[in-house]
C-alpha cells in the first residue's frame, strides 16, 4: 500500500492553514463581529435592547420577577376597588393569566421559569443568557405586549379618575408594574443600515473624521521630514553614535499615556515651561493658548505626537539607509556630484520603498490615535481634538451603545483599509517597476 503523502503544493497549503485560521480568528472575526453588531440597535444599558435579537424574545429573569408581584397586586386592587373597576381589574387578571398559561405551554420556558424563580428567591442573578432570554413567537409577543400596555393605560385612567389618593396611588403603581412587564417582552432590534444612515448625517462624526485626518496628515508629514533628518544624521560615522542612537529612541520608549501626562504639565497655562518659552519666543499668543483654544489644543496634540513617534520613523528610515551600498556614493563623488545631488539622485530614490513602508505604519497608527488625545485633552476644548477613535470609545463604553459604536469602529476600519490599499498599491508598483528596469 502506498504511504499517505502530500505533494509539494498540498504540503504548502497545509503549512499555511494554521496561520490562515489565526488570521481569521484574530483579525477577520472581530471585524465581522463589529459589522454584525452595527446592524442592531444594541445598547448594554437598556434591558430591552441589550441582546442582539432577530426575533421576538422574552427576558425571563425580569418577567418572572415582575410576574411574581402582578397576581398579588391585582388581587389587592380588585378587593379595594369598587363597582365596574373591580370588574375591569378581574378581567385584566384573567387575561394576563391566560397569556401566562400560553407562555408556559412551551415546556422549555416552563422549566426555565421554575429554575429562575428559585434563583430569584435566593438573590442569585441570572447570568446565563441562554436561560435568561427565550425566543418566543412573534405574533404572541406583539399581542401580549400590546395587551399589557393597554391594561397599563386602563389602570392609569382609573387612577386619574379616582378621588381616593391612596387607591389612586395603588392603581398607578400596578399600572407601572404592567408597563415594566410589557418591556420584558422584547422586539427584534435588527435595524439594518439605519445606524449608518444616522452617522452619515452626523456632523460630529464628520468633524471627528476631519480632526483625525488633519492630525494624521500634519503629524506624519512632520515626522517624515524630521525622521529622515535624524536618520541621515545617525547614519554617519561619528564618535558616540551608539549613545545618540539610543537616546533618540527614548521618546518612543515612554508609554503614550505617560508621555501625554508629561506634556500636559509642560503645556500648562500657568506653570508649563513649553507654554512659557513658546510665548517668550512669540510663536504662540500666550501660554494658555495651547490647551484652552481649539487650534492650540490641536497644535499641542500634534507636537506631542511628533515628539513621540519621530524616533520610530527615524529607525525605520535608518534601516533603509543602511541597505544603500557605499559604492554608489563613491562612484557619484568621482563623477563630481555634490552632496545635495547625491541625496536627490541616490538616497531618495533608493529609500523610496522604505519611506513608503514607514509612512504606511505611521499613517495607520496616527489614524487610530486614542490614548494621547484621551489623556492630554480628552477631546476638548469645544470638541476640537476629538478623533474618530475617541468618539467610538465614548459611544461604546461611556454610553454603552454597542450598535452605534460598532458603526464608528467599522468606519475606522474602512478608512484604515483604504489607506492601506493606497500605500500597498504604491509600494507594489514600486517593486514591480524596480523589477522590470
Amino acid at each position: 500500500m502506498k504511504k499517505f503523502q502530500l505533494n509539494e503544493k498540498q504540503l504548502g497549503y497545509a503549512m499555511v492553514i494554521p496561520s490562515l485560521i489565526l488570521v481569521f480568528v484574530v483579525t477577520l472575526w472581530p471585524v465581522a463581529q463589529s459589522m454584525w453588531n452595527s446592524l442592531f440597535d444594541y445598547r448594554l444599558n437598556d434591558p430591552t435592547r441589550s441582546q442582539k435579537m432577530l426575533d421576538a424574545n422574552i427576558d425571563l429573569e425580569r418577567y418572572a420577577d415582575n410576574y411574581f408581584y402582578i397576581g398579588n397586586q391585582l388581587e389587592a386592587l380588585a378587593s379595594s376597588a369598587s363597582g365596574e373597576n373591580t370588574e375591569k381589574v378581574k378581567d385584566i387578571q384573567q387575561n394576563i393569566e391566560s397569556y401566562h398559561e400560553e407562555l408556559l405551554s412551551d415546556d422549555q420556558i416552563k422549566k426555565d421559569i421554575a429554575i429562575i424563580d428559585e434563583m430569584l428567591m435566593k438573590y442569585q442573578p441570572v447570568t446565563d443568557s441562554e436561560l435568561k432570554y427565550q425566543q418566543i413567537d412573534n405574533d404572541f409577543a406583539v399581542d401580549y405586549r400590546q395587551a399589557l400596555q393597554s391594561y397599563q393605560e386602563d389602570l392609569t385612567a382609573i387612577a386619574e379618575s379616582t378621588s381616593d389618593d391612596q387607591l389612586s396611588d395603588q392603581f398607578e403603581q400596578t399600572a407601572g408594574l404592567l408597563g415594566a412587564t410589557s418591556n420584558t417582552i422584547l422586539k427584534s432590534n435588527f435595524i439594518g443600515l439605519d445606524n449608518y444612515v444616522k452617522y452619515f448625517k452626523d456632523k460630529r462624526m464628520w468633524q471627528s473624521l476631519w480632526n483625525t485626518t488633519f492630525f494624521t496628515i500634519i503629524s506624519v508629514g512632520f515626522e517624515l521630514v524630521l525622521g529622515l533628518a535624524i536618520a541621515l544624521l545617525i547614519n554617519r560615522a561619528f564618535k558616540g553614535r551608539g549613545l545618540i542612537r539610543a537616546s533618540v529612541l527614548i521618546p518612543w520608549a515612554i508609554p503614550t499615556a505617560v508621555a501625554a501626562m508629561m506634556w500636559g504639565f509642560l503645556y500648562d497655562g500657568q506653570s508649563g515651561i513649553v507654554g512659557h518659552y513658546l510665548e517668550v519666543l512669540n510663536i504662540i499668543p500666550d501660554a494658555s493658548w495651547l490647551l484652552s483654544t481649539s487650534d492650540g489644543a490641536m497644535f499641542s496634540v500634534i507636537l506631542a505626537d511628533v515628539w513621540k513617534t519621530t524616533p520610530y520613523m527615524a529607525l525605520l528610515l535608518l534601516a533603509g539607509l543602511q541597505t544603500i551600498p557605499m559604492s554608489l556614493y563613491e562612484a557619484a563623488s568621482v563623477d563630481g556630484a555634490t552632496k545635495t545631488q547625491q541625496f536627490w539622485s541616490i538616497t531618495l530614490p533608493l529609500l523610496k520603498s522604505s519611506i513608503l513602508v514607514a509612512l504606511l505604519f505611521r499613517t495607520l497608527d496616527a489614524f487610530r490615535v486614542f490614548d494621547l488625545i484621551y489623556v492630554l485633552t480628552g477631546g476638548g476644548p469645544a470638541n476640537a481634538t476629538e478623533s474618530i477613535s475617541i468618539y467610538a470609545y465614548e459611544t461604546l463604553f461611556a454610553q454603552q451603545n454597542f450598535g452605534e459604536g460598532s458603526v464608528l469602529s467599522v468606519i475606522v476600519f474602512i478608512c484604515v483599509a483604504i489607506i492601506s490599499i493606497i500605500y500597498v498599491k504604491l509600494i507594489g508598483s514600486e517593486l514591480i517597476s524596480g523589477k522590470t528596469r
Binding site: 489565526l22 444599558n45 447570568t127 500657568q270 494658555s288 469645544a382
Partner: protein, 441 residues
Amino acid sequence: MKLWKSALVSFGLLLLVLFLAACSGGNEETTDDSGNTDTDTETTDENTEEEKVTIVYARGVDTTGANEKLVAAFEEAHPNIDVEFREMPADTGQQHDQYVTAFSAQSAEIDVFDADVIWPAEFAQANYALELDRFIEADGINMDDYFPGAVAAGKFNGKQWAMPKFTDAGMLYYRTDIVDTPPKTWDELIEQASSLNGEAGTQFGYLMQAAQYEGLVCNAIEFIASYGGQIINENNEVVANSPETVKAIKKMQEIVGSDFVPDNILNFMETETETAWIEGQAVFARNWPYMQASSNDTERSKVVDNVGITTLPAGDAGSAATLGGWMTMINRYSEHPEAAWEFVKFMTGAEGQKITATEGGSAPTLKALYDDAEVQEASPLFANPEFVKVLEAAVPRPVTPIYPEISDILQIELSKALTGDQTAEDAAANIQTKIEEAMSE
C-alpha cells in the same frame, strides 16, 4: 481529500492548543480560589465561628484619608468581614466607564462601590445594581432621615438602588481678608472679582470649572438655574432653548472671557481650582464643600483662617447650587450581597457618615448629624443653617438612564460656547435639538 485530512488535523491541533490554554487559565483560577478559601477557613477556625468573607469596595481617589478610617472602623465592628479597597480614577467620567465595562461583563470583582448621584438611574436600568428595598425594610431603615433630594437621586422606577453617602452642592468660597461683603449676584461678583484682583498677592478674581468634562455641566446648571432656565423639566420635556438659558450662557461667557480668571480657565477642573485656591492665588472660587477642609489644612494651605463660604451668586431667579455627592451601591453580581449590605449600611449610617464628615469634610445626608457637636466642630459649614438649606434645595442634573449621552451633548455645546466657537443662542438651540434627538431614540 488528503488536503482536507491534513487541514482537519492542523485545525484539530490548533483547537487542542487553544483548549489547553483555556483550561490551564481556568485551572489557575480555581486553584487560586481554593487557596483563598483554605486560608479563610484557617483563620475562621482560629478567630471566629463565622466564616470570614472579603468584599471589595471601589471608590474614586480619596486625598483626605477618611476612607481608611471608615474601613478600619467597619472592620473593627465586623471582624468577620474584610474590606479590600480598590482605587478608581478621580475623574467621574472615567470612573463611570470603568464600572460599566466591568459590570456589563457581569464581573463580580467589585462588591460595593460609590456612585455619583447621576448614575443610579442608568445602573438600575442596565441591571448593574442590586435593589436595596428588601434590605432597607428588613433592617428598618427610615429613608425620611435622609435629605429627600439625595434619596430621590438613588430611586428609579419606584425602587431604591443606592444609599446616599454624602451630599454636595456648589458653593462660593471667598477670602475674608480681602472681601468685606460677599457678592449677592453674578454682576456683583464680576465687579468685585475685577476690582479686588491683585490684593494680598492674588492673581485671579474668580475660579470655576470650565474644562470639557462633567464639572462644566455642574457649573452651567448653576448659572442656568439661577436665571430660571432648565434643561429637562418635570414632564421629561426638553426646555433648554429659552431666553433664560441663553442669558445664563452669556453670563458664563462673560466671566470666562474676562481678564480676572486664569487664562487657562478652560482647562480647570476641581484639582486645579483647589491648588490655585490653597496657594492663595484667587479672591473667589466656586467649588464643592470638600475644599473647606483643604483650605484649613495647615500643612498644605496658605489661606488658613482666611476663607469664607457662602451661597453662589444669584441671577434673575435667585441663587442655585447643583446637587452633587455620592451614593453607595451594590453590584448585582456580587457574591456576598449580605456582607456588602452590612458595609453599605455602616457607611451610610450615622457612624460611617460621621467619619466621612469629620475626617473627609463631606456633608452628611442624614439630617440629624447636623446637630451633632463633633460634626459641627469639623467644619463651620455644617453648623451653618444656611448651608444646610442650600444642600436641601440643591438643583439635580437631569435624571435619565441616558445621562452620559445628555452630559456629553452639554459638555460639547457649552465648551464650544465658552471657547467662542459658537454663540450662546446657537449653544442653547443645539442643546435643545440634540437632546431631543437622543431622547427620542
